[in-house]
Assembly symmetry: C2
Homo-oligomer: 437 residues x 2
């Protein structure tokens, strides 16, 4: 590091693999102008880490570069004991705004909003509005494209974009050019619902209002991109059977990485222990017909894989708002047919495999056909069962108030493994009684 | 349906579960004003389905409601034989624009861009620019917030937002208020890279330029939200071992649903057949010590689960741009330590379980301690192996030019199952030789 100054772009590329000290060092040698842009590119977590790594005297400058909502996000990412100190770096007006924002839950519309937006009165003319906005410092905020029309009690009456003002003739009233059908969000709307609102109506900006219809701030679509990405990451990690990491892969300390994975892995392991118990129940059958044991991994993994497919599809469809709880029965019916179809396909392949191996190597003894039928029928049952369990589990979890994404692929596979064994050995006991068993 | 007219909002909610006929019927009874808004809320696929369901005479109206980029998206979603007919409904100017857009790949910046944007000259004054924009119909496009400053050859010189124009004093030159450091995208930039550009720089709009620096169109962040959501859905479905569905869960016909799932499921099944072959190699050992068979599902599923965790984390980190190919060795080192740690945790639980069951039920015979050691050591090996395979596989796939997300959790589990069996029986042969084996 010491031998070489990074360009802003090199520093950004290298960022994930640098230690805190290296980051601070790399940042401090950037030219002031580049450093500004660089700082604004970072996410809230990295900004907090960087600011806290700088000498106390240099922090004020960077804190004051941030809009109130960004400052609030940074403070939320900082350790509790540093928060007061960071707040104290802001000017009085911004500090009040930031404190107000910190009262909102991070994941609510209120926690995402920017409190700097332009307000207009409905009975101004367009020319008056333009000259008012020229004097209004808030209109200079980089991310603002709309002015909101409010009454004397700050209740939202309508919205005009800066474009609307430019293209309208100057003597018209704001009332005449504003749009009155404004899609707004309540303060406590969850960020996932908020992003669905943005996507459904293709919005660039949504005003956040309180219960009395008073405007409290605005959320911009560029923050929603981050929300959508973040929610997808959470769902993907849960689906993979990992607690949400809360940070880039390479930056999560190893011990925390192990913690985040050990919980689910140990829980799944405890569940999977039931397979040893289940197998123990059929120990006598295995001793009599060792050939049965050979197909155990094949059969239970097929159930697990079909369950993983079903749970993935249902969880994603729920997250996209395509499935609601009341659709569970339609999903069951579909999965019943799908599971039966998929099970039949795998059963045919399995049957062919056993018959071919028997023909080539005489691998499965004189009762090979009964063994083949046992495997084939078990596959139909296990794949059907996997599809049903995998698709119903997210509904059950959601119905109980849990996150449906907790029905991870490994979780479903574990459930299906135990029951799959029971299905397999029950089918075997029925078909092979009097011959192998 | 016939008894009841939907409100626009009811129709939108019910949309996923309606047939094409019901959709057309519900749409046709909406009031004209509501129908406009409703139509614009739909995605390109639904718009195409709806338009083609309407009588030929009504289609023109709805096609002409769309901006050129939306019209191009709709036409791309329509069956090939309908495309010419839909193009013919547009006015000449729009048809030329749409044809130009159809030449771009759907997933490139060029395929996402809107060709209606406002252009200014650098030597206009702000007042001249405003009065020019008042006359320019393109400035009336709802989604435009910027005007692009170009030279006589359409090369991009800078950008001004409508807000910049409003807040600047009128006699200044556009040259003086424009920003010249414009982040632009080449026409053929992939949509995933484009969305990373948007997120990194918190952009609202990006101009798309050709190799000569001439502006061809603009991409707006609200389209990027859709891209991010769509890419996440693709990755999630691949991770779950399903081909991308290309449609909402309930709308995919059952036969296609089975096709989308049967491919991977059958491939995994063929791979998993190697477990039967592997188990066959150890048939003699199983016959001598049936107790070994009891732990097979437990051990291979632990490898599969740890592999699923590792592959999920690495694939997501790659999609977010946090990991590149050259990071593979760092990832390996991390996964080596993590896998060892996780394996040790599971081994301890497994050891305790066997010793307790032995104490309570005398479940595992006189050599129970050796059996316990076999299970514990195998768990360390299998979990370590799963973590390494799960994390390296996405790198290998990407290195070979495949999508890393094809390293689905079920794929990794299948790979690890076969090798897990070999690890387990090799450990058993070593530890139990002379006693059970």
């Amino acid at each position: 590091m010491a031998e070489k100054n990074f360009t802003p772009s090199e520093l950004y590329e290298a960022w994930p693999i640098l230690s805190t000290e290296e980051r601070v060092e790399g940042f401090e040698v950037l030219e002031r102008k580049n450093a500004d842009d660089f700082f604004l590119q970072l996410n809230a977590r990295d900004r907090a880490e960087l600011i806290l790594g700088l000498p106390a005297g240099e922090r004020r400058l960077w804190m004051r570069l941030l809009a109130p909502d960004d400052a609030a996000d940074l403070i939320q990412e900082a350790p509790a004991e540093e928060r007061e100190g960071l707040l104290a770096l802001l000017d009085d007006a911004t500090r009040r705004e930031v404190k107000g924002l910190l009262d909102y839950a991070e994941d609510d519309a209120g926690g995402l909003m920017n409190t700097r937006y332009s307000r207009l009165r409905a009975d101004m003319t367009v020319d008056e509005a333009i000259s008012y906005l020229r004097r209004d410092a808030r209109a200079r905020e980089k991310t603002v494209y709309y002015a909101y029309v409010v009454d004397v009690e700050e209740r939202l009456l309508g919205v005009v974009s800066f474009r609307d003002l430019i293209v309208a003739s100057g003597e018209k009233l704001v009332r005449e050019v504003m749009r009155t059908e404004v899609i707004s969000a309540p303060e406590d709307l969850d960020q996932e619902a908020l992003s669905q609102l943005f996507m459904r109506h293709h919005l660039m900006m949504v005003p956040v209002v309180d219960a009395q219809g008073r405007i409290k701030g605005i959320v911009s679509v560029d923050d929603i991109v981050d929300v959508v990405q973040e929610e997808a990451t959470e769902d993907i990690q849960k689906l993979g059977g990992v607690e949400t990491l809360q940070g880039p892969y390479l930056q999560v300390p190893l011990l925390r990485m192990i913690q985040k994975r050990a919980g689910w892995l140990a829980a799944l392991f405890l569940g999977e222990m039931l397979t040893a118990t289940a197998m123990g129940q059929f120990q006598a059958e295995i001793a009599r017909a060792v050939v049965l044991a050979l197909f155990v991994p094949l059969i239970i993994s097929s159930g697990g894989n079909s369950g993983s497919q079903a749970t993935t599809l249902v969880i994603r469809a729920m997250a996209l708002g395509e499935l609601r709880i009341r659709d569970w029965w339609r999903v069951m019916r579909r999965e019943f047919i799908t599971g039966l179809g998929l099970g039949t396909i795998l059963a045919s392949i399995g049957l062919a495999r056993i018959l071919v191996w028997q023909g080539l190597f005489n691998a499965y003894g004189e009762h090979y056909f009964l063994v083949a039928m046992t495997v084939a029928l078990s596959l139909v049952g296990v794949v059907l069962w996997g599809s049903l369990i995998g698709s119903i589990l997210p509904f059950i979890l959601r119905g109980l108030g849990f996150d449906p994404a907790s029905a991870s692929a490994p979780f479903v596979a574990t459930l299906v493994d135990v029951t799959g064994l029971v299905i397999y050995f029950t089918v075997a006991a029925t078909i092979l009684r009097g011959t192998l068993l």
